[in-house]
Homo-oligomer: 224 residues x 2
DNA sequence: GTCTATATGTAGATAGAC
DNA sequence: GTCTATCTACATATAGAC
């Protein structure tokens, strides 16, 4: 992934308002198409058609397919990280920290924006692609791993008897379950019959993960 | 997915021994390449090179890219299903059924073959692709969902107070966590430091999921 | 910055000799 | 059944006019 490690922007003159709007349209279209078809299934032409722009414009703003993909993933990552860290801070100030409140701070902000905004739902599919495919490990490391650390630290304090390895495993399990929730609600419905509300399913997930981490035989450090 | 729903074989004359060997080589190569690069990233030429066969032969035995993919996924699915159902029967006969033993019967057979045989590890990556991408929902339904039902039934009996919806959700969470374990061990290691043994991580997973399923859960009025 | 036209490569698929 | 040669389509990318 050499290309993806290059800086996303080489500093030039400040772009015009119109140019920024075009670039936003390009990234919006790229987000939609990459989310729907993955990196290999998506084509520049497809993205161009979605953006209502000529093919050349996609290359001009995207700087090649791989860099365009990287930019598309990175665009919302900072916002997402901020939402999560803010939620974690709020949880810390709001009272006793528990495994459930930490997991809620991690999951709920992302979940909530996908409820309000369809483009964030697309972004969730994109994140699932990045997390699944080993080719994008560098992008995942850059965009998502840093945010994970404060949460890992909080969980480590709440579960002092667990090995770091076991905790890391359960966190990875939790994140993959979360992405499954964001991307495969239809599948849950197919197996279980008429679906529950999305909010209920988020509660199911948080309970599942926190119980998985603590377990009935271990002492819960606090009460919600 | 019209093509994938077509029967995989239209009955012809029995193929020669040599032809069967060639077809096996084709499917082996397809498995490797599809697992590594996904459906869109893989090319027929790439598969041909891996198989040491000319391009035309891949088409002859594969019947087009989509049918080849379908065949590749289906080939090991029956074996996998049998391993799992046998393990479930053995667990039933072996003593008291618990959530842990049911999950073990589901996870461990697949996990074990990936330990013994690298081609099964490739197959695990392939299964992850199929489970992730909505395009292959039909293939997943055909190859994997039927096996899921006896396990769902066993879990339903063990957790009678849970709604079917909640159970379905936790099963989907568990399966995605399992696939994460099979495909992203490196990632667990990256977050948690020097990794535990694979067997330990399977135990972590089974404990995580069974604890996640038991304990207080969402219940619904009117649901048995 | 934007758009048109085009260069260059490679994809999936097949026809027909062996 | 196996392999060669080839068809057609479309991919990424760029050069250069506006």
């Amino acid at each position: 992934m050499t290309l993806s490690e290059l800086p996303l922007q080489t500093r030039k003159r400040a772009p015009s308002k119109r140019a920024l709007a075009t670039k936003a349209r390009v990234l919006d279209a790229a987000e939609t198409v990459f989310a729907a078809k993955g990196f290999d299934g998506a084509t520049i032409r497809d993205i161009a058609a979605h953006a209502g722009e000529p093919v050349g414009t996609i290359h001009h703003h995207g700087g090649g397919k791989e860099r365009l993909f990287h930019q598309t993933v990175a665009r919302r990552a900072a916002t997402l990280s901020e939402l999560r860290l803010t939620a974690l801070e709020a949880a810390k100030e709001g009272g006793v920290l528990t495994v459930e409140t930490v997991l809620t701070a991690f999951f709920k902000p992302f979940f909530d924006v996908t409820q309000d905004d369809p483009s964030w739902r697309n972004y969730a599919r994109l994140v699932a692609h990045v997390s699944t495919d080993v080719r994008w490990a560098d992008i995942a490391k850059e965009c998502f791993d840093p945010t994970l650390e404060p949460f890992m630290d909080a969980l480590t304090k709440l579960l002092p008897n667990q090995s770091r390895q076991n905790l890391a495993a359960t966190v990875v399990f939790s994140v993959s379950a979360f992405l499954a929730l964001l991307t495969s609600r239809d599948r849950i419905g197919a197996i279980g019959g008429t679906g529950a509300s999305e909010a209920e399913e988020l509660q199911d997930l948080i309970r599942f993960c926190s119980q998985g981490m603590t377990g009935p035989t271990r002492q819960r450090p606090g009460v919600t």
